[in-house]
Amino acid sequence: MEELEKEHFDKFGVYPNIIGLFWNDQEAVMDGIEDAIEDGKPYDEYLMLDDEQKQLFDNGRILF
């Protein structure tokens, strides 16, 4: 995990944005980061939420 995060940082200049979306499945997070690196797009769990969920998340009205 540490190695992948570093690779992500080296490639994009930012660490992956983990907001707890897959907190119970570490492998899903690692696969997501690997895909992001391969696809050239930073890993960002917030962007995986739809607009309504983003609003709920910002207001603490969705719990993972």
């Binding site: 995990m1 540490e2 190695e3 992948l4 944005n17 983990i18 907001i19 707890g20 979306l21 897959f22 907190w23 119970n24 499945d25 570490q26 492998e27 899903a28 690692m30 696969d31 690997e34 895909d35 391969e38 769990e45 917030y46 709920l56 998340f57 603490g60 009205r61 969705i62 719990l63 993972f64």
Partner: protein, 542 residues
Amino acid sequence: MATESQHDEYLSDLADAHERRMLEALERVEQRIADYLDNVPTQAGKLFDTEWAVSARREIQQIIESEYNGTVQSLLEEYSDVAVRSLEMLNNYGDFTGTSREVINQLQRLTFQGFEDIGRTYLDTIADQVYQNALTGRSKADMIKSIRQTINGVYMQSDQAEINKLVDIAKNGSPAQSKAAIEKLHTVYAADRTGNNMRRYATQITQDSLMQFDSSINVRAGIEAGATKWKYYGDVIRDSRQFCRDRVGNVYTNEEIEEIWQGSWKGKSSSDAFIARGGYNCRHHWRPVLDSEPASTAPRTKADIPTEAAFELEPKWDKLAKSRGGISPAAGVVINKLAKPKSITSKGGRGYYVPGTAEIVTPSTGLTGKRVLMHEYGHHIDYTLGPEKGVAISASRLRGPAKADAESLGVFLQRGLGKAEKFDGDSVLESFRDQWYTKEAVYYKRGSRKGQLRGYQYVEKYDWVPAMSDILDSMSRGRFQNKFYGFGHGVGYYSRGEASQMTENFANLFQLWSFGGEGWEKAKELFPRLTKEFEELMDGVP
């Protein structure tokens, strides 16, 4: 027709009103006796006339009879209305017949005798004091002060403004102010440390008589209707005894009541469960439960509630909960007692709960599915038990215990820290990571590097690790996940604020508690205050 809760409220308000009237009557008793004794013959300010002292008894008796007994009589007249309202409440739950006028009169007579005994006891005490003080030549002022104290204890009236101010605070201040004022008054009136005064006993009997009368009427009506089950009901307040907290809302058979009420506890007043209820000053009540009571109002005994969780949605969720050893019977009861979520659905590997709509999303298979289902269901219960819609109970109940446990472990963090920042609790977190996880190599799954070493991940050694890890992660504001890669919601989630930490604590505790076994034992060992508070919350689920 009034429900049991409306009847409880009515009785509580009436008990308060009766107590106020009794206190006012005792203030009048005190003042009138003091005024009368102010005319006692003296020589150089000292009492001496024993004949006058003997005759004083008659006048004191008249004052007690007119003010105290007169007030008691007017309070008891209102018991007829209590009987009418009790029957109205009972008929909400079945077909009951009212208690006869004769029985009500007899109960009122018996109750009056209880009050009368107190009046007579204090008449003797006061009259004896007057006589003995005359014999020993005590000063008039000392005698009046002592008799005022015999009637109203530290609440007696005084000619010192400062003391009257303390009395006023003791009567009308906040609980803390009142307690401090009473302590100060005890230092002034050292003799009354035990509080054995007329006020104490009269106010207690005022409250207990009313509740016992109501109980007698209800039990009588229940016996006549053939009831063999009884509900112990009423409000749970801060001062409620643990004995009552543990039993309010439950339905018991005659045999169960006999067994439970055989025990002893602080404040127990009688061996008759229907009279004693929780003991002195108890404001809980009994009502009969007939087998014919409509299902919509019939309370369920603990034994009536199935221990196997039924989500009342798609059967696959019940099946998931039953998988891998099922969930604990206690968790099943809590799930079955409370309102169900609007929906449980599956959207890939995601797990979340939306309090506003009571929707759960969870993986639907395997150990992960079961863990996430119970975790998200924990969120649902947290909000269902909250004081109002949209507010979780964890916000008020878990904050203190969580902080205390986190500080004991040395992992309490006030704000989220970057990986490079220093934190004293890092060695503790690292130690838990090493105890709970094994480090395993993982390999790239796609692209040109497929099959090459991708790095390492931490794999949990025990089933209970994810929920326990997340509690540590919450306490350390996401540091356990962010720096040590344990399971947890992480800094990005916990930086939303303390409410997020508490709701996740609740969900994780529910997950661990519902799985039971080693995980819950481990949680109790590591988070003693949090788990204790959580168990109390679950015990109190109505």
